[in-house]
Symmetry: C2
Subunit: 483 residues, 2 copies
């Protein structure tokens, strides 16, 4: 089954993203339930379940899967995951997981160094997901600015933090979780031309909040926003944070992999990231490591993680393990040994392999942008800063009658195309609106993970054409009416 | 390598828990670093790393590994993890992970039913670890009692929550994270005879806090405490919570697997758990599913998870997926498809297999208790409520001179024995003190996962004898002096 899966993913233009897409109800009826499985099942029973799983799951390893910001894993990651499962290693205390504990510390060093941090300033931890990394960054800043909260709780402190309107919703979630309230994660508008955080609006908001008795303490910058792939200006944000004494976190979960790009492709995207107080980064996104593999790196904040999160569970975490009881830095206790996946990915592909991924994805984004600019039936939303290419499709009728392609119809056309892609299964590109700028739904092609060839860019456009060329006002209006 | 690992774990009395235990520094020197790995490595390079990983990791699948509350995974879980890695499935939105999303909902139903919950009252989510499940339970209770906190933050609300002194440190951590402060997670002493939470002391504390203007809202009960394996009296706790209008959470991460025990073994341990508002449970602990596999189940709290944690990321979570966009209930966004591991474990072993695990572990705990009670050189701490057997070893000299076996020496003997076990590697049993009752270090044998035979109980005692019989006051005092 695994080999068949590999074969099918290796022939992207001939195979579909799934063998059959079913609704939850249909799928439930295909899976023989487990609630009455009292006696042991045979191996064939198990294989039947695994077959159903393969048959109806999406092939994320398929080069035309672009729905989310992750991509199919590569074989070395699958081997690593199997080894981890056999070992059942748990990265909390060194003496039960010596190897993955050492690998975790080393992986954080290697990635931290690529972000330009000094070796002696680097600390961090792997986490089950970027949302947790961002939440931990907010908690670190909270502990630096409001150290009493850890033990005593918020004391009418009037905390306020700032993030761009285009940042991930986990920042608001973090503010919700940590008890300051989601509203206190102030949303700063983006610049119209670049979708970066508007740094002037940010500073005005900080000043206003200070004047009104609030205590700003945290700014989140994004390196690679979810939708547009924009990179905030970290240098300017660092200056603002310095002026006002705020913690600067960079959410590089998605765009951080471009740190590996060669100088001619690097550009200014990540300029200044070495000045951040903390960085979150998901190797399971752009670099194609098997999920989950997410990290929070701190910069020149010695022992901050342990001081913030440690609760002196002394029976568990013992100084004799030389600081390798990594669980003492986390919010949880046990964690999977995700470092092995990143370690083996570096061993197998080399850091030059990561450079190749970064360079290829940037080149493909540029290539796709050219194709769209050259086509009459596609329209670019904005020239990409990173590797997210955002574009509209214009069905045949509307090419001839551009005035008829209203906001509402444009939005529905992209929803309909997405549903057709989802059910037809030759490629899947995420689509969404951008409410901040009133942009109706468009496609967002997020390039990462290095499974896609440049020639696939045309495949995607042609498949979109094939699925959409019949769309005319009546069909679209009917869909709007019934939605 | 995997087959060799299986072989070695299959001959527990002849093999060690690791081939060689190294310090972090020694281990780092054995692992060729990745920081300079620019060019791709060969397959042999990767295999060398994997060999080192196997060589120096602990064999958690070894039947004499008892250091933590988890055990080696079984082969079906390893297969499941490989399938998950190949699919790279991410359980946030249905349309990219239809199969694992449906499996997650079904697994929560099956486990919830075994806890006695009514089908229509069950909701829940899988999480990366029991600490997160407990944290989410506290957040649910917070949202029910202080709904303004989600958006506006704590407003001098004076919240207070309660947990037993023997509960897991993640409860204090949850109070720290959620901004009420760790001190507001009030620690209630245990009953001396049973190590259960003292329900009278709890109610007194609730009343006192109410009289002093605090707002109690949450009580954590434990089903299977970390050290002693005690089960709190859920019936009485439910009555107290009803009287005072509090959320009752049961942390059954460890002891929950005994819900599968047959009636003659079941006892009162989990009596009343069907009355809880929420239950956390880790199939990766007692049931031996590959880590991580943890769940939070809510009882008759329709839509509470989504209301508490959802942030209307509408571009992501869409109603058309019929409530199967499970990510909308969680604190994160993407999650691994852990449900496949539990699903296949049920298919392979059947629910009767889980009953067999529960029954076997209870029987072994009783057997071990008899062996210890019958031996002159071991002393039981207390008759076990669940499957944690806690005992002291008495070296030869101290058997003859019991007055010489002081508190301090007893503590050091167990630390020394643990270090010998750790380095010698034939078995590994956790040891710790119990500060609440001033008990010096003792061994805690936590039985779960069904890899251990009854005859291994004697193996453990004999290995402890072999390692400890030479210990006399001078050696112990020297160790104390140099510690």
């Amino acid at each position: 089954m695994i080999l068949k899966y590999y074969d099918e993913c290796g022939s992207p233009t001939k195979t579909r993203l799934h063998e059959e897409f079913l609704t939850p109800l249909e799928l439930t009826s295909r899976l023989r339930p487990i609630s009455q499985q009292y006696a042991p099942g045979t191996n064939d029973d198990c294989i039947a379940d695994i077959k159903t799983t393969f048959r109806h799951s999406l092939k994320t390893m398929h080069p035309l899967f672009f729905d989310k910001l992750y991509f199919g894993s590569d074989p070395i990651g699958q081997v690593a995951e199997l080894v981890l499962a056999v070992l059942n290693a748990n990265t909390h205390v060194y003496h039960v997981s010596p190897v993955v504990s050492v690998m975790e510390v080393e992986c954080i060093q290697v990635i931290g160094k690529h972000f330009g941090l000094k070796k002696e300033n680097i600390d961090g931890t792997l986490n089950p997901g970027g949302s947790m990394s961002n939440t931990m960054a907010l908690l670190l800043a909270r502990h630096e600015h409001f150290p009493h909260v850890k033990q005593d709780g918020w004391q009418n402190d009037k905390p306020v933090a700032f993030t761009g309107a285009q940042s991930h919703y986990s920042l608001r979630s973090a503010a919700m979780i940590c008890g300051m309230g989601a509203k206190q994660m102030v949303s700063i508008p983006s610049k119209e031309e670049s979708f970066q955080i508007n740094t002037e609006a940010l500073e005005e908001s900080i000043v206003w909040h200070k004047q009104n008795g609030h205590k700003p303490f945290f700014v989140n910058a994004v390196a690679g926003t979810t939708v547009m792939g924009a990179f905030d200006d970290i240098i300017v944000l660092r200056e603002i944070c310095n002026r006002h004494g705020l913690w600067l976190h960079v959410d590089a979960c998605w765009g951080g992999f471009l740190t590996f790009a060669s100088p001619e492709h690097q550009g200014n995207r990540l300029r200044g990231i070495e000045l951040a107080d903390s960085i979150s980064f998901n190797p399971h996104k752009g670099l194609g490591v098997v999920q989950q593999c997410s990290m929070l790196i701190t910069n020149n904040k010695p022992d901050a993680l342990r001081q913030c999160n440690g609760l002196d569970a002394e029976y568990l975490f013992q100084p004799q393990n030389g600081g390798y009881d990594n669980g003492n830095k986390t919010l949880g206790c046990g964690r999977k040994g995700d470092a092995l996946k990143l370690w083996l990915a570096i061993r197998k592909h080399g850091l030059d392999g990561f450079r190749r991924i970064a360079d290829n994805e940037i080149e493909k984004a540029q290539h796709m942008t050219r194709l769209i600019n050259d086509a009459d039936d596609f329209d670019i939303v904005v020239a990409p800063m990173g590797t997210n290419v955002c574009y509209w499709y214009i069905p045949a009728f509307f090419q001839d009658n551009p005035d008829e392609y209203s906001h509402e119809r444009k939005a529905m056309v992209h929803k309909m195309l997405f549903d057709r892609m989802k059910n037809y299964g030759h490629c899947l590109v995420q689509q969404q609106p951008l409410e901040e700028f009133g942009l109706p739904n468009f496609f967002r092609l997020a390039l990462g993970g290095d499974k896609t060839r440049p020639s696939d860019m045309n495949v995607i456009l042609n498949e979109t054409r094939r699925l959409g060329r019949d769309l005319a006002p009546d069909d679209v209006d009917a869909a709007i009416a019934s939605s």
